[in-house]
């Protein structure tokens, strides 16, 4: 192929890229969602540790047991409420101050994805009993993504 042809092809491909980018643009927020999804998956990443500011960790094992914990870093506040489900599982309801792009609960044996809690709320059902921690990616006021992790708590 001559250089002239190659250059013409390159120009056409560049024009095609512009056209497809205009006709079928990358959805708003997709890139941030992907950054957040990768961040919670990346075990090598260092997370800012949230501290337990209110509540007491107890084992929730019967329908009458509940546990409410509040974690904070100063920048972000997370409230979780744990209730017992049937058959040895628990339910975790959460409220996050700010825009969460990814929420994940990690245990020794399993990982539960709560997806993006963009309205600040998330719920995980059928959570096996065991030591757990939450990983949360939020977008701060300046638009940057920040990752946080709670201390371990018993579900």
């Amino acid at each position: 192929m001559s250089d002239e042809n190659a250059a013409a092809d390159a120009a056409t491909y560049a024009a095609l890229r512009r056209t497809w980018s205009a006709v079928d643009p990358v959805p708003v927020g997709l890139i941030d969602r992907m950054v957040a999804a990768v961040a919670v998956e990346d075990l090598s990443r260092e997370y800012e540790l949230l501290t337990l500011v209110e509540g007491e960790v107890v084992a929730v094992r019967s329908e009458t047991d509940t546990m409410t914990l509040q974690f904070s870093s100063g920048l972000v506040n997370v409230l979780i409420h744990v209730t017992a489900e049937d058959d040895g599982f628990s339910r975790v309801d959460g409220w996050i101050e700010g825009t969460a792009l990814a929420v994940r609960l990690l245990q020794d044996e399993s990982v539960l994805d709560a997806g993006a809690a963009e309205n600040g709320r998330f719920a995980l059902t059928a959570v096996p009993h065991g030591l757990s921690r939450l990983r949360i990616v939020i977008r701060d006021d300046s638009g940057d993504l920040r990752e946080f992790e709670t201390p371990r708590f018993e579900v």
Partner: protein, 249 residues
């Protein structure tokens, strides 16, 4: 996830031999469909001509080099380099995946699966400098797998779902307000689905892997260069008839 098994550079032509007869038939069908107006393009099989010029035209260092650098830095322990890699390559993956006709939600799932697979299996990537190729191949395989599943499902579902999944032409046309994009889009719209997919994948991928594209499109490897040229030729013919100037960019 299975769609991303194996390494990026391990493609073998033997992969498509099982479908050779079928591929030939498909190729003939494509050739016949594209014959009018493409004789002048000939059967050039140069698969390396356009890409380097394209890279040079964009920016230095090229995108794949930038991606490779970020991936190497992430592997060395710089966790934020992954954020940059995701920002750099997600738009490319989006366009590659959407070329397979997936609706937005499925396309987003495939892009996310691709990134999850990279994080989980990065140790199996023997050539870190090839990470951008690894990503686009992984995305194409997964998109192809998901599109086959959903085509099968669609066949038994109502037509209304199909119209819901496909973006409306009027919406797309209204998005293409720019004159160049509008005219180019009108020309692209005259191409068959196979040509549209091929041109979109090639346009957004650097260093396209012709063996893999050939398998995905069920065409013999040897035909991918000429087929690409025929698709491009048909597009040019339509554009020239519309008064398009070849040199504009």
């Amino acid at each position: 996830m299975r769609a991303c098994d194996g390494s990026a550079s391990g493609e073998k032509s033997a992969d498509i031999t099982g479908n050779q007869k079928f591929s030939d038939e498909m190729y003939q069908a494509v050739s016949i469909a594209l014959l009018p107006g493409v004789d002048t393009m000939g059967a050039m099989t140069d698969s390396a001509g356009a890409a380097p010029a394209d890279e040079a035209a964009d920016a230095a260092p090229s995108r794949w080099e930038h991606a490779a650098d970020l991936f190497v830095r992430w592997r060395a322990g710089e966790s934020r380099a992954m954020d940059e890699l995701v920002r750099l390559m997600t738009p490319v993956l989006w366009h590659v995946v959407r070329a397979y006709g997936l609706d937005q939600a499925l396309a987003e799932d495939v892009v996310q699966t691709t990134w999850m697979t990279l994080v989980q299996r990065h140790e199996s990537i023997l050539e870190p400098r090839a990470v951008s190729g690894w990503l686009t191949i992984c995305a194409r395989r997964e998109a192809w797998r998901v599109s086959k599943l959903h085509r099968r499902a669609d066949a038994t579902e109502t037509d209304s779902l199909e119209s819901h999944l496909e973006p409306g032409e009027s919406a797309e046309e209204s998005a293409a307000t720019d004159d160049e994009s509008r005219r180019l889009w009108a020309a692209v719209s005259t191409l068959n689905e196979r040509c549209k997919r091929l041109l979109r994948v090639v346009a957004f991928e650097e260093r396209p892997d012709y063996a893999r594209i050939a398998q995905d499109l069920m065409m013999p490897i040897g035909s991918i260069g000429p087929t690409r040229q025929r698709c491009l030729g048909k597009l040019r013919t339509t554009l020239l008839a519309d008064g398009w100037e070849e040199t504009r960019s």
